[in-house]
Amino acid sequence: MTPGAVRPSALRSMALGAFCLLALAAGNADPARAAEPAHGERIYRAVCIGCHQIGVLGAPKAGDRAAWEARLAKGLAPLVDNALNGFGKMPPRGGNPNLGAADVREAIRFMAGAELVTEATSGGGSAAVSAAVPVAAAGGAPGRSGPGTGPAPSDPQAPAGSGRGAEVVKRVCQGCHQIGVLGAPRIGSQKDWAPRLKKGEDTLVHNAAKGIGNMPPKGGQPELTADDLRAAIAFMVRPPPAPASTAAVGAAAATGAASAASAPAATATAAQPPQGAGVNRFNRLLRPPASRNPPPLRDGIHDPANDGTAVLQPPRQAFEPLPDSASGNHVDWVLALEQGLIQPRWDLADPGRKPLVMDLNIVREVKGSMPNVVYPHKQHLQWLDCSNCHPKIFQPKKGANQISMAEILLGRKCGVCHGKVAFPVSECRRCHSQKKPELAHK
């Protein structure tokens, strides 16, 4: 939940433009279910966290004040509406159809910060804000606002005349088909759909119903009928000409890479002014905390153009419940194991098998002023087998091994693991932990 530093400004301005249109739409808020902040946090942890913790595909990050401020500029109601109906790459209700407007609102309140939301809803200043909230309160009908409540522009994401297909796509299919998750043919992409259309429409409908490749049967919604699927496919193959906001979203998707690369320059300065930008940045050579544990899409080694990359779990999501440490993965793995926060198997097939742990400390007296090294067998045998180290890396005999920091830094002896996967050598005191009596002069 570290506040994100960087937001693509281009995306933001497009989102703002879209909000202008959406501000006209009547919200479907349900004031009766207004809940305490804890509720918002619960929803966030159950649903939103997957994307909003680290900002997957440009999602505004939880706690990133700058990102949310921009989105809340038009008030809370349009934002809730977007979250309910899906927006850009966000699936409707974050992919959980059971969420109501109140749930979504509380989650936004949690992610954006309560005072920011109160600010936006009370003193927002824009007419849209003051209008949107009463409308939302008055139109307490469950579900989406019906076609009777306003003229066509009330919903710019569903072009007029598209009907059932558009609705199904928006509710079910676009989660994958908008950006082409795992090779799903993208909405409106002739290139993606042309080879599939050669098989005939009936085959396509049949495949969608039964599931094919990575696609689950009926896109995971068993209540869809064959006619729904047919309409949805027809819509995805040739969506009606898009109005302004959809076009903006499409453009954002197309230029995603470009804006991701270019926008930081503009937003980073706005997002963290106290840090001091440019040549006099505080701790210039230190890695900023926000860049730790990057998601696969931004870690520099995964190919963002690869289908599978977007599916991989972001490390920060996995590390959230685990105790922090100063370096490496920024996870204290030994503590996490001791506290039972992770239960890694000791045996491939048998989850119940436990290691036999030998509790034997080996003390190595070291030259110079550094404290002596205490090597604990116990913590190592929680993870490893004797044969991993003995006799190939270490002779199982006290005093028989020549170990130096130079060797460790070069990835030998302790450095076979420490400095690659186990805590790195910058954690001097975790090994050099026994005071030398003659030097304990403090």
Binding site: S262, P264, L409
Partner: protein, 157 residues
């Protein structure tokens, strides 16, 4: 419509400047860093026209102790030091001991493993050795592609 083309050109110049700024990455911009212990394995991938493999240690150590792979399955403590190929995997060796559709998802999910930027050399990312000797970053993928997979700086020893 006088101002429109000027405006458009201005925006073009602006975005080009921003793009250049992003590419040259001044120090205060968050740069991309791999997760500690992520191993890129590129013994055969580039040659076979596949993306290199990224093995995330962190993900696997949440689920298995080191011993399971490094003692029971015979993985050497050396990036690129195991002669892993797809045939051995589908025969149940190495990754295939779990990635068989039974313990973990099976081998037809090619892109979940073969996910690194093409040309990324074999190495343990964020390792001490990588920091000391230098990284074969995907940014220099063009030149790195020409370097043999087991370069001295690859953090493999």
């Amino acid at each position: 419509m006088g101002p429109a083309p000027t405006l458009r050109r201005g925006m073009l110049v602006l975005s080009a400047l921003l793009l250049l700024g992003g590419v040259s990455a001044p120090g205060w911009l968050p740069r991309a860093y791999a997760e500690y212990g992520d191993v890129v394995i590129n013994n055969y991938s580039d040659g076979a026209g596949m993306r290199p493999v990224v093995f995330p240690h962190w993900f696997h150590r949440i689920r298995f102790r080191c011993k399971v792979c490094h003692a029971d399955l015979g993985f050497q403590f050396q990036a690129g030091g195991n002669e892993i190929n797809m045939l051995r995997i589908i025969d149940g060796e190495f990754c295939g001991a779990c990635h068989n559709g039974d313990v973990a998802w099976s081998v037809e999910n090619c892109t979940l493993c073969h996910s690194a930027k093409p040309g990324t050399p074999t190495q343990v990312h964020e390792s001490t050795l990588q920091k000391l000797i230098g990284r074969g970053s995907p940014a220099s993928a063009g030149s790195a592609g020409a370097v043999p997979a087991s370069t001295p700086g690859a953090g493999t020893r």
